[in-house]
Structures are given as C-alpha cells and as structure tokens.
C-alpha cells in the first residue's frame, strides 16, 4: 500500500509530508520533482523510478503524490488523492497553497485518520469531524481569489458569481451554533462536447452532466429529489422511440445506492456533509446547439485571405452567457492580421502563436456577432495548406442558469423540522466546442 503522501507546490517545495510505512527514503519529493522537470511534455500520472512508484494528481498548481513499492491499484490511488484534496478543501474552505500552509496541523490530523499504515480508513467528512481538534484558519480572501475559490467545481477555472459560503465545513467545539449553517447547495453542471465538421455536420454532440452538492445539513436527513421529466436510462430507449430525456448511462454516489426510481422519477439519498458528486450522466446524441458558428473563408489573392465568422446564440433572450473566448488558429505563413467586429468587441491577434482570439464579455440569447479578419500571408505558401491550417475554431464559454438537456430539479424535500436553505443553480460549460473549417 501507499508508503508516503506528500503535497508539493508548483516550485517543488514540500508543503505536506506524511510518512505511512517508513520503507522509503525521505528524498522522494526531490526525486519526483526532478523527474517532472526532466520531461518537457505532460508526464503520465504514474511512473516508476528505481522500483518506487509515484502516483500523482495535479490540482490548483499543486501535486498530490503517493509513493509505494507495491503493486497497487491506480484507480484507488487516484480516487483517494482526489478525495483527500476534496476533504482538505472542505475543512480549510479553499484549496490553495496558502490555506494548506496555514492549516497544516489540521491537515496532519486529517491525514492521520484518513489512512493508517497506507491503507484508506475513513474519508467521510462527518466521521472525521470527531477526530479533528484544530480550528481551521480561514484566510482573508481578496476579491480575485474568491472568484477562484468559491467555485464548487474545483476542476474548472471559470465561475459563476454566487453566494456559496466560503467557509470550512467544520468548526470544532462550541462555535457551531449559528442558524445559517443548515444549508444545502446544489449545482447541476452540464459539460458539453461538440464537434462540427467543416460542412456543418454534427460529428459529436454530447453532454456530460453532474449534480454536485455541498451539504451543511445538520444531522443526516433523508433528501428526495425529483426531476422535471422522465429520465430513460440506456441508449436502447433511443431506438425504441421514447420521448423525454434519454440518458445513455449514469452513475451515483454511494449515498444513493438505489439510483432513480423508475416509476416516481425520484432519487432518495442521505447526503454526507461537505462536497460530493451525487449523480453523473452522459447523453451522447443531443440535438441542441447553444451557439451556431458560420465561417466563410476567401482568398482574393495569393497573399490575402479573408475570414468571416458569424456567431449566433441559440438560447432564450432571458439567458446570457459569461465570457466567450473564440480561438481561431491561423496559417503558419500569416504575416499580419487585421480584424473588425460588430458592436466594438475585441479580437486580438497573437503573432507568436498565429492565433486570433476573439473575446465576447457577455452575450444575450438570440443575438448575433460577426468577426471579419483579413490576413496577409506569405505569397510563396500554398493555398490549400493555408486553408488547412486555418481553424479549427474552438469556443470556450459558460452559461449560467441554463442547461442543454433541459433536465431540471423539480422538487427537493428534506426531512426535518426546520426547512434548510436550498440553493440550486444550473451551469452549462464547454468541455470542448470545436468547429472545423
């Protein structure tokens, strides 16, 4: 099993080091970091050096690393590392190097209970509470930090302004009496993968959805959640011509072993405290596109190239998207690029990378923007090749209060006398949105 756990910052400094089995040297963080530096490309998340296996995840510019000599299960290691990072986040309120440094006593207390002799023991936030005595040291966050840190989903870098309390899950001893701690936050995320061929055909249109919860509920009340429409699970339903939402497959957090009851369309579960992902689903053949992109390329002469991109938002005018970043790779032979856009938007040409980046700060539904770019290219380069090197255009955006599948949480009832405060949000975000040209 795992011999050591350590956390390094992006410079390779050790910020946490926990010895579990005393069978390896103390110099493993050095060896690990040296190996990362020696390879330029993305290093595979586990590797073996001189008989020692290093298994790591990278989160928020920090490395969470296990070392071991034995033949362990990598999935267990990665799940556990991810869980540990979540627990640290739950207890310190934010997963940053600073928060870890300020709370290292607390973190050592946690690590002592989470694993024993390198074997996982208990990882549930409420069980761990009983064993933690150090109060968390919350860091005064300036505005910019809080934008990163109040994010529920740690994997993404963008955010939707929200009120989620940035506070630790647990205050030991007497302090914990405030009434407002009886809250539950629910985020329904949909990450979309869209791939369009140059002729406009849809190659992929997939939705990876997840319901992420953060529970500050007192006790362990039973929660039932109902959806607005019938979820049919299994791609065979598509062939059978069912209406409603057809979900190819889904999985559930261990607190909801029953899944969704077919007849009632309700999911019943006992949420653990802290952050967790209740439900994940994937839809492989969505028919809806939130944005339409239309590209037109012309080559008036051997040294000129004109690109026109038309972007139309395909959702209700009441909804608006946050920052949209549109990246257009240009041919390697580009010498210069002039661009104009409608409504005084901003498009920036990055000469070094040969990329045109168009940023739209905010866009309402049913709106349209146009970008016109005229390039000067090296006249000796081939036209076919220039065409080929233009694109694919990729979009990066998030749309709050909106989801593509139209799955919505219709009702959420929580057992108990005092009804807790419930926060429900919908966010659509791109995983990959690529239009080939």
């Amino acid at each position: 099993m795992f011999s050591q756990l350590f956390i390094l910052n992006y410079k390779g400094d050790t910020i946490i080091f926990k010895e579990y089995r005393h069978d390896l040297n103390r110099n493993t963080p050095d060896l690990f970091f040296r190996h990362l530096l020696s390879l330029k490309s993305d290093v595979e998340p586990c590797f073996n050096l001189e008989g020692i296996n290093y298994i790591y995840i990278k989160k928020r510019e920090m490395y969470f690393v296990f070392t071991t000599m034995s033949l362990v299960s990598p999935s267990l290691a990665f799940e556990l590392l991810n869980r540990i990072s979540k627990i640290i986040q739950d207890y310190t309120a934010s997963l940053t190097e600073e928060a870890i440094r300020f709370n290292f006593t607390l973190i050592y207390e946690l690590l002592d209970e989470i694993m024993d002799f390198g074997h996982p023991q208990s990882t549930s936030t409420e069980t761990l509470k009983a064993f933690v005595f150090t109060p968390p040291h919350t860091i005064q966050l300036n505005q910019q930090d809080s934008i990163i840190d109040n994010l529920i989903n740690t994997a993404t870098k963008k955010t939707v302004p929200q009120k989620t309390a940035i506070r630790p899950i647990h205050q030991p001893s007497q302090i914990e009496t405030q009434a407002d701690s009886n809250e539950i936050y629910v985020d329904l995320w949909e990450h979309i993968t869209i791939l369009l061929a140059s002729n406009g055909n849809v190659i992929r249109n997939e939705i990876s959805g997840s319901i992420v919860m953060k529970s500050y509920l007192k006790g362990n009340p039973v929660v039932s959640m109902g959806f607005n429409q019938v979820l049919k699970i299994g791609s065979h339903h598509r062939a059978a011509g069912h209406t409603g939402v057809i979900v190819d497959d889904c999985n559930f957090h261990e607190c909801a072993p029953e899944g969704i009851k077919d007849e009632t369309n309700v999911m019943t579960f006992k949420p653990p405290q802290g952050e967790f992902t209740l439900f994940k689903y994937r839809i492989s053949q969505s028919t809806y596109l939130p944005f339409m992109v239309n590209t037109h390329i012309e080559t008036p002469s051997k040294s000129k190239m004109d690109i026109v991109i038309r972007l139309r938002s395909n959702f209700s005018a009441h909804v608006h998207s946050n920052t949209i970043i549109i990246t257009i790779p240009l041919p390697k032979s580009t010498l210069s690029c002039q661009s104009t856009t409608t409504s005084a938007l901003n498009a920036e040409y990055k000469g070094n990378e040969k990329i045109l980046q168009w940023t739209i700060k905010r866009m309402n539904g049913s709106a349209e923007h146009v970008l016109r770019a005229s390039l000067t290219v090296d006249s000796s380069s081939s036209e076919i090749s220039n065409r080929k090197e233009t694109g694919p255009i990729s979009l990066d955006f998030d749309i709050p209060n909106f989801n593509c599948s139209n799955i919505q949480i219709k009702a959420m009832t929580i057992q108990g006398r005092v009804p807790p405060i419930r926060w429900v949000r919908y966010i659509t975000e791109t995983k990959s949105y690529v239009c080939r040209t």
């Binding site: 008989g51 999935s75 267990l76 889904c250 380069s381 090197e389």
Partner: protein, 808 residues
Amino acid sequence: MGSRQQPQQQQQQQDHSYFSEIKKGEVSELRTLLKNASNERDTEKIKSTLQRVVYYMTMGIDVSPLFPDIIMVVNTTDVVVKKLVYLYLCNYAVSGSSNDSLLLLVINTLSRDCLDPNPMIRGLALRSLCSLNSMTTFDYSFRGVLKGLGDASAYVRKTAIMGLAKLYNISPVDARKETFEEHMPKIYGMMMDQDGQVIVNAILTLDEISPNWEVSPSLVNHLLAKYKQVNEWGQTTIINTLTRFKLISEDQIFDFLNLFDDRLKQSNSALVLSIIKLFLQITENEPNIHEQVYERLKDPLITLMDNTDSNEIQFTILSHIHLLMSRSPDLFKHDFKYFYCRTKDPFYIKNLKIKILRELISETNAKDIVEELSEYVFEGDIQFIKQPIEAISFIVAKIESLSSTVLDIYTTFLSSNLEIVISYTVSALKDFLRFYPNQADQVLPLVVEHLVHVNLESDAIEALLWMFGEFPFSEQQIPYIIEQFFDSKFNDQPSNIKIQLLIAVIRIYLAKKKENGENRSGEIYPIMMMILEECSSINCSPDLRDQFLFYYRSLIYDLEKTSSIINTKLNNNNNINNNSTSTLFVEDEILEIRDKIFEEFNTLSIVYGKHSTSFIKNPLTLLEKQKIIKEQLLISPTKTGTPPTNNNNNNNSNNNISPKMESQQQQLLQLVDVSHQLDSSTNNLISLFTLEKAAEIDTGQFQEMWMSLEEGHAMSIQLNQMPEIDRIESVLTTEGIQCLAYGSVDGVTKLYYHAKQIDDGPWFLVEIIIDETSHLMTLGFKSTDIQRLHSKFVTKFVSTLSNAISTN
C-alpha cells in the same frame, strides 16, 4: 539502486547541514521557547512552538536535535499537543539512531494513554505507539496491541489490528513466525467482528502477514452480509478478497453477479474496476456469461472515463479499456466517438486514445476514424502529429477499401508547408507500400514531386531510400535524386542513413523487371561506385563498414545470388517475408503480450503496460511468477540433436547476368585493392560476435533469467507450412544455439533456445511459438545485453533460422 542513491543522500545531508547551520539559531530558539512554555505550563505556547517544529520538519529541515526537548512536553492533556508530539516522534524515531533510547521516556505516557477512558485517545496512542519505527519499544507496542484487540471500542480495535501489521513489518524476519504465529487465530477472529472497518483492517493485516491466506466459504458469507456497512474503500478490499475465493459454486457465481451488478453504477472508479475484475474472474469458465459481463461493463466504463474531471482517472480507465479490447476487440466498436481527442486533453491521454481508436476499426467506422485522425495533424499541437499519421497507416493496412481515401489524405499532408508533417507522411507511405506494393507507381512520383525544398527527418530519409530500393522502376528520377542527395548531403548523414543508401543503390543496381528484363543498372552504376568507395573508407562507422563488406563481397562473389538474396520481392521467393496474406507488421504489438498482464487487472501494470515482474522488486510475487513460467515451459529436452545436415544445393544453375554486368563486376574487383589491407582488421570486427559452442544452462536458471529480463525483441513470421523441428534444432545447434525444451500443447508448438557469447559475454534467450494451424511463428528474444541482442544476435538467429526453414 543503492549505489545511485548514495551521492544523492550525501548531497541531501549536506543540504541539511547547510540548512541547520542557518537554522542553528532557530533550533536553539525553539528549544528555549519549548522550555519556557513547558515551565509556564502554557499549552497555547507549547502548541505554537510545536507547530513551528512540525512546519520545519515538513520542509525537510532536520529538527531531530530537539528530540529530548519534545519528549519533555509529551505529558499533557491537550489533544492537539499530543498529536503534534506523536507526529514528530513517528517521524524521527528510527531504530539505531541516537534518539532511540530516549524513546523509553515516552513509553510511559503512551502506555498510560492506551488506558485512557476516551477511546479516541486510546486509539491515537496505540496507533502512534505502533508507528514508532523502532524495535526498542516493540514489547510495549505488542502488549498494547494485544490488549487493544479486545477493546470495547471499534475504533481502538481497528487501530490495534492494523498495529499488528505494522509490528510484523518492523520485526526481524527470522523472529516473525515465532512472535506472530500464535496470534493468527485472533486475526481470523477479528474478521468476524461486528464492525465493518475492523473486518476490513483484519483482512488488510492478514494480506500483509500471510498474503496467500485461504478465503473460506463461511467468511465469504460473512463479508457479503457486512458489505453494505463498510465504506467504499473497505468495499474494494472485500471485493478483492472475494476475487481470491477459489471454491465458488455455480449458484454463487450468479449470486455475486446479482449482488454487485447495480454497484457497477457507482461513481468510484476504484470500486467499479475491482467489481469488473471479480466478474471477469468468476465467469472465466462460463463463456456465455463471460460475454454478457463484457456487454454489461461497457457503459459504466465509458461513463467513468468520459464524465470525470480528473485526467488521471480518465487515463486509468482508458488503459483498462485498451486492455479489455485485447480480449473483446469488438466491444467498443460502436462507441468510437468517445475516443476522439479533445484539444485540451493532455498528451498521454491523446496518445492512448489513438492507440484505442486504431484498434477499434471496422469496415463501417474506419472512414470516420481516419478522417478524424487526419484533422489532428493540423490542429496545432506539434507534439501530436506523428501519432495520428502512424495510426492512419496502421488502419489502412487492415482496411483495404480505404487505400484511395488514405492516399488522398497523404497527398494533402505532402502538400502542406510543415516539414514535420511531410517527414512523418513519407515514413507512413513506406508502411503503406509494404501493404499495397502495387500502388508504388502512384505513390513515388507523388513523393518525389513534393520533396523539392524539404529537409526530411532522418527516419523519413531512410523510408524514402527503402522505397527507392524496393520499387526501383516506379519513378524515373530515382537515380538522379540519389545522386543529388549523395553529392550535397552524404557526409552529414548518420550511419544508418548511409547504410540504407548503400543498400538502396545495390538493390537498384541488381533489380530487373520480370516481364521485360528492363533494368537500371547502367543509370545507377556510377553513383553506386561512388558510394561503395565512400563506404570502404577506414573512417566509416563499424556498422557501415560491416554492411559494406557484406554487400561488397556478395557482389564480387556472385551477382545472381546476391540479387536473389537482396531483392526477394522481385525474385519472389519469399519464405520468410511477409507474404500478401499477412496483416501484421513485425513491429506491431502482439495482443498476446498485452493479454499476459490481464491477471493484473486494476493494478499499475495496466497503466504501465507491462507485467509487474519488470518493475516491482518483491521476492514474494517472484515465486508466484515462477510457477506460471513453469507451466508455460514444456517438458525438458528429450531429443538429442541429430547430426547437422548440409544444404549445399543450387549451385549457379541458371545464370542470366548480362555480360555487361560481368564486366562491371570485374571493375568492382578492383576496389578490392582498396579494401584488401582492411581485410585483416575487419576480420576481427566480424568475428567479434561468436557464440559458445555448447553453453550450459538448466531449466531453473533459464526460468529465472527469462523472468527477470525485460522483453528485448519480438517478431512474428508467417510460415507457409509447419517447419521440421528436428532440422531447425540441428541447424541452430551448429551455430551454438542450444535447445532447452520443446513440445506441442493445444495446437501450439513451443521451443526454447539459449546461447551465450564467448568470453563471458551476455546470454541470449529465445522463445518460439508456432501456431500449428495458422503457421504463425512468434519469436521472443531476451538478453542480458539488449544492445548486442538487437545488433547481433537477432540477425544471426533469424538468418540461421531462415536457412533451416527454407526446405528446398
């Protein structure tokens, strides 16, 4: 390992001393602080000082000199102080260190804490007591553990049982049996505990102490009953234990399947993968259910893979999908779009997805996949150009109907402005022509047309030269391109390109069209002479010289024979070459090899793509592996070698070398004068590689060596018919390659050979597997000297073998 780490350790120690010099003031300051605080009995002060100590400890600064002072504050009721002290102690208490004896001072406190009314304190004290990595406290810890096993609190019991594993690990190997044997029944007893975590820890402890313990049917029932009370990590432990259960009945198989089926919908990939392993294992002998299991696990795996925000988990699942495809190639065929790369995917994921995509192909999806792959080339990720181009050539080798589509794609690649794209495309076209040689007349003019201003990578130049040599009539300009290349760039080239050039010109020189006898010897002759002369220079690399001498002597000896050896395709007597029915590249990974790691499902072996024996240094598993190899190895040799038969036939019978060429051969001879004086020296060079006449090795040694070595080289050869084993053996024996064992089982003939270079040189081990129905011969080579294996032994072995197999 030891010798390499030595300097680093020294280095570190220096670092430490450097640090502690700076921090010397700091350490003594901490000491004063601790003293004052403990005199004042100010817990908060003690706590904050301890926190600083632990902070330095984390950063790797040596604060062990504070050991005596820390021990002084251990006597406290504050839990956080206790925890900090214990953390410190567990880090610095190491057997044999100067602090070791001081530990006895702590024992009292720890032992007292083990009796504290608060179970949490008892557990904490017990856990820390056992984590002291020191024999000094062993007796105390052991007593504490035995007492803790009977504690009323489950938290203490689970800590105590794990403590047993810790103590087992630090106790000397020869004392283990004596100390622990009498307590084994207790561990089994703990598995029947009411508390889930105690059960799980008892299993884990038993796994550590006696890894091959037997899982009894009653335990299985108990575990199934307790399964739901255990957390997800404990569940994986239970599943892993069930996987080891041997006495499973047919009814139980269905029970297991029904019980865990809905658990496949869990979001914890560790749990899902261990359930999959269980399912695959218990249904292994039930082909029908086994198939259903594959169907069943497909969707959960895709969901776990695609809907995760952890690249690392995605990578693990992809590795397992890749492995599963070796057993069930069609399983993911319809879901190929999930394996399309996203621009943001890290390189290791893109790479793996491509590997999966190229194996997913079928007649229906291949076109989509190839078009998708071709898009990646221009997506701007400069690291990620080679893989898609290679994958395309791999796919088109399997799907013939795609050849024109692919040729169009390659044409666009060639007309791109990117030299790197062109280079990889040229290499890919070489592979393309190996499968579609009749397209050569179309391909080569295309390549030549786009080469005008391009500086190719060396691999691409090699590929190009190979194509020229293989298809000398496909493009008019070949001799002139070679001449130009020779004139302008020859001297800057690495020797592998020079060798390829040498071979190419000789092949062109000897080539002759079957139908009309057309040849290009006249065109190429002058340039060939120049190259030969250049290669005969004493300054050439030994490899080049080697090759030169071989070809040169062959040319002088007999043009006809040389031609028949070198231009096998044109002369069409290819026994050992890929013939048209073959669909495998020699260098392709063979599924069988991937299949070998199947038993290690859900371990690091799968993500590394190799068997644990090659990276885990653990004597215990070594024994198990030996058993497996023993099963693979067949009966020891029963045959004694028959005397070698000479196969001196076909003396120049039909000589159709033109008189003109003969005169050129004469001119060639004049070169001898140049090279004559080299002969004696080169003789040495050549004879450097000689095998011992009869190297001795027994089966045990062979097994041991075979297991400890990494796969050196693997290839497969499609034979036309079953070879005569006796003949192979006798021919190889004359070369000093000895047969260790051979035999035939389940339609597969296996042969094991070994050889050793003279003067205490490296060993070479060979495994030959011949499928008796398809006549596919698979060769696996291993050696203690991989380089020599590649450069010398494999060539020698294969040439000797081909000699033995060609029957006429």
